[in-house]
């Protein structure tokens, strides 16, 4: 008996493309989320200048009955400048790829370029904050390192520091409700943290940490919000800065940025940060073989309220193993 099998009569075409593309692992971009946004005008020069008036001395000495005016005060201001910088990347795609490829290469490369641009904006802000904001070493943990792992006193210390500096909180509090397992949430600053610290946050459950799941209502939660400790709501991302093996005892150091409103400002120039550029092969060389797809953007950033931001550095209580 002769049976025809795929061994002697295989499919003419062995593969078909699945209907949808697979997702691209992409970190949550928290840094741009908490920035003030300012746009410089076109033809506005290279530098964005901010002005913050200084407080005048409150007149707490009585005038008395002499009829003499007190000395006049001289108003002063602080000036903060930020220089614009330009960024861009792109791909050169041969027309044969566009002609022969089955899955719409221009479409998904455009998408990737757009995401790369957004991620660049976030990474620039991340590294700028690492370089510009002052640091507080966590000391409330128990691992004997410098910085130590996070203890609840570290959250309290930084929130107290920002409160004492008269920083503005981002979020109003959430009142308690009669729902099992929930608790009220204080008005809050944001803390931008690493996903690698989530085990340590979980370890603080009952000692001050309230999981986002245990808020009375989740309506004001951000997608990357993991929970809160006292006056700080924690947003986590896998791209949060980590200095590997950089603590006093050689452990990884995590930069937790705790900030209030207007601490960091993100500046663009006349909407320039929206440019996706496609150039037809017609513009490339004698035989017009190559198309180009590119993105470019302009960005500056400034520490606009240095009193409203601190990097709380910490290590981890214990290793969570490999990636």
């Amino acid at each position: 008996m002769s049976i025809t099998t795929t061994g002697n009569l295989g499919p003419l075409i062995l593969q078909s493309l699945a209907p949808a593309m697979l997702y691209v692992p992409t970190p949550t971009m928290n840094y741009i989320l908490v920035c003030d946004k300012v746009s410089m005008p076109a033809n506005g020069g290279t530098t964005c200048r901010f002005m913050r008036p200084r407080a005048l001395q409150p007149p707490t000495v009585q005038l008395g009955n002499s009829g003499i005016d007190p000395p006049a005060q001289i108003p002063q201001r602080d000036i903060i400048d930020a220089q614009m910088a330009f960024f861009g990347t792109g791909c050169i795609i041969n027309e044969q790829v566009i002609l022969q490829d089955q899955e719409g290469v221009l479409a998904w490369v455009s998408e990737r370029l757009a995401v790369a641009m957004r991620q660049a904006e976030d990474l620039i802000l991340r590294d700028y904050i690492v370089s510009a904001a002052s640091q507080i070493m966590a000391g409330g943990g128990s691992n004997g390192d410098n910085p130590s792992n996070l203890g609840v006193t570290d959250f309290s210390l930084v929130a107290t520091t920002l409160d004492t500096n008269n920083a503005y909180k981002f979020m109003s509090g959430i009142e308690g409700m009669d729902r099992f397992g929930t608790g009220p949430v204080r008005s809050s600053y944001f803390m931008l943290s690493s996903t690698e610290l989530q085990t340590d946050f979980d370890g603080l459950t009952g000692a001050g940490f309230l999981s986002q799941w245990n808020y009375p209502t989740n309506t004001s939660c951000l997608p990357s919000e993991f929970g809160s400790v006292f006056n700080i709501r924690i947003l986590t991302s896998s791209e949060a800065p980590v200095a590997r093996s950089a603590s006093a005892n050689g452990n990884d150091v995590y930069y937790n940025t705790i900030l209030g409103k207007q601490a960091i400002t993100h500046i663009n120039q006349d909407g320039y940060s929206m440019n996706l550029i496609y150039r037809d092969p017609y513009y490339s060389g004698m035989l017009a073989q190559n198309a180009t797809l590119a993105v470019k953007f302009a960005q500056a950033q400034a520490l606009t309220q240095d009193t409203a931001i601190r990097n709380l550095l910490c290590t981890r209580l214990s290793s969570i193993g490999g990636p």
Binding site: T47, A82, A138, G139, D145, S148, A243, A248, G250
Partner: protein, 392 residues
């Protein structure tokens, strides 16, 4: 010349060690000609280290190089292998000291670790502290390093400085200094070979200044009618820079801190830089007469959770530009980025016109001429760098 390739030529003055060349691309071919060594080679023997030409293809691997040495006995062609590889022996060259391409764009990246296994070292009790490595460190003045695990015993050592970024001053092939006074009662000389667990280490911070000006750590303060501040690594401040201090209680001079303000509660007190002495020293206008002395003699036992004293840029009082001196009216900012050996003249950024004292982006790319091929300080080196369309 193909359509998308890049080529750059120019000359750079060697700083005697890792010498940075900033380009608008990252090359895959580099060649250099060292004019200074070409003149100096007269009378050299085959064992004299005098490389006049060197080149690199990307397939050679990072830190490698081919080179030519000109001697009285003729020209020799040699090979500097990547780190850990086998290099030529005439002259004796050190693997890993050739070319490195560089794309300085993301923070918190580090070079190879120096420890008791790879390159044992010690730190002396001195001011400034002297670091001595067992074999050549191949670092250059201007590089930044960071230390870990400096416990000589369970209760002694130099853990007080572990985690602080330091700019180094190279004093020899196996020695350099860091700007910190360890010649104080709470510090004990450190040696990886005899320390607890032999786990002490340090490493180079590869891209320490991607954005400037920023936060710096303080190693000394001189109080008076003006205040002189020394930082552990370049501060990148300019005259007119507005600054704020963050000094923990243990370090003494907390009166410099921007808050609290006893006269106008809530309003931060800022100083501004009146003169810049060099990349790590500046003078600010704050009258600190009578303030508590700055103290770095911190107890070893207190290192866990210890915040370091800091000073940071918070604005500027400049109105733009330099006084015209025949040069560019509004030059790009210059930066001490971890690869500048001079302590008074930084590297120009590629930014374009700027107001001095503004926050600016100092990211860069290009290549580094390694210590094995960079000749002697002040040598003029001509270079050609290419990014080709095809590299098979």
């Amino acid at each position: 010349m193909a359509e998308y390739s890049r080529i750059a030529t120019g000359s750079v003055t060697s700083n005697g060690g890792q010498t940075l060349v900033i380009l608008p691309f990252t090359p895959n071919f580099i060649e250099i000609f060292n004019r200074g060594r070409a003149v100096a080679q007269n009378g050299n023997t085959t064992t004299t280290f005098c490389i006049t030409k060197a080149w690199w293809y990307t397939d050679m691997g990072q830190t490698a190089a081919g080179y030519t040495q000109t001697t009285t006995a003729g020209d020799y062609t040699g090979w500097i292998a990547p780190t850990g590889g086998t290099s030529s022996s005439i002259p004796t060259v050190v693997s890993g000291t050739g070319f490195t391409t560089i794309q300085a764009a993301l923070a918190l990246q580090y070079g190879p670790v120096f420890n008791n296994t790879s390159n044992a070292f010690s730190i002396s009790k001195a001011n400034p502290a002297v670091v001595t490595t067992s074999t050549a460190h191949n670092l250059t003045t201007g590089n930044w390093v960071i230390f870990q695990n400096l416990s000589q015993s369970a209760t002694t050592g130099m853990q007080q400085i572990a985690g602080i970024p330091f700019m180094i001053t190279v004093t020899g092939a196996t020695t350099f200094t860091i700007p910190w006074n360890t010649n104080q009662s709470n510090y004990t000389a450190f040696n990886t070979a005899t320390s607890t667990g032999n786990v002490g280490s340090f490493k180079q911070i590869l891209y320490p200044v991607l954005y400037a000006p920023g936060v710096s750590f303080i190693s000394a303060i001189t109080t008076g009618t003006t205040t002189t501040v020394v930082t552990t690594a370049p501060h990148n401040f300019v005259q007119g820079q507005e600054i704020a201090f963050r000094i923990p209680q243990a370090y003494g001079t907390t009166q410099l801190n921007s808050l609290p303000n006893l006269v106008i509660p809530g309003s931060p007190i800022y100083g501004y830089v009146t003169s810049v002495t060099n990349s790590t020293t500046f003078v600010c206008n704050i009258n600190s007469t009578g303030y508590t002395a700055f103290a770095t003699n911190q107890a070893f036992a207190n290192y866990p959770g210890q915040t370091f004293p800091q000073v940071l840029a918070v604005g500027d009082v400049n109105t733009g530009g330099y006084l015209y001196n025949g040069g560019m009216l509004y030059p790009s900012p210059s930066v001490f980025n971890g690869y500048v050996s001079s302590t008074t003249v930084g590297a120009s950024t590629i930014n374009g016109p700027a107001i001095q004292g503004a926050y600016y982006n100092a990211t860069f790319q290009g290549f580094i001429i390694g210590t094995g091929i960079s000749g002697t300080s002040t040598d003029v080196i001509d270079y050609r760098a290419i990014l080709s369309d095809i590299n098979s």
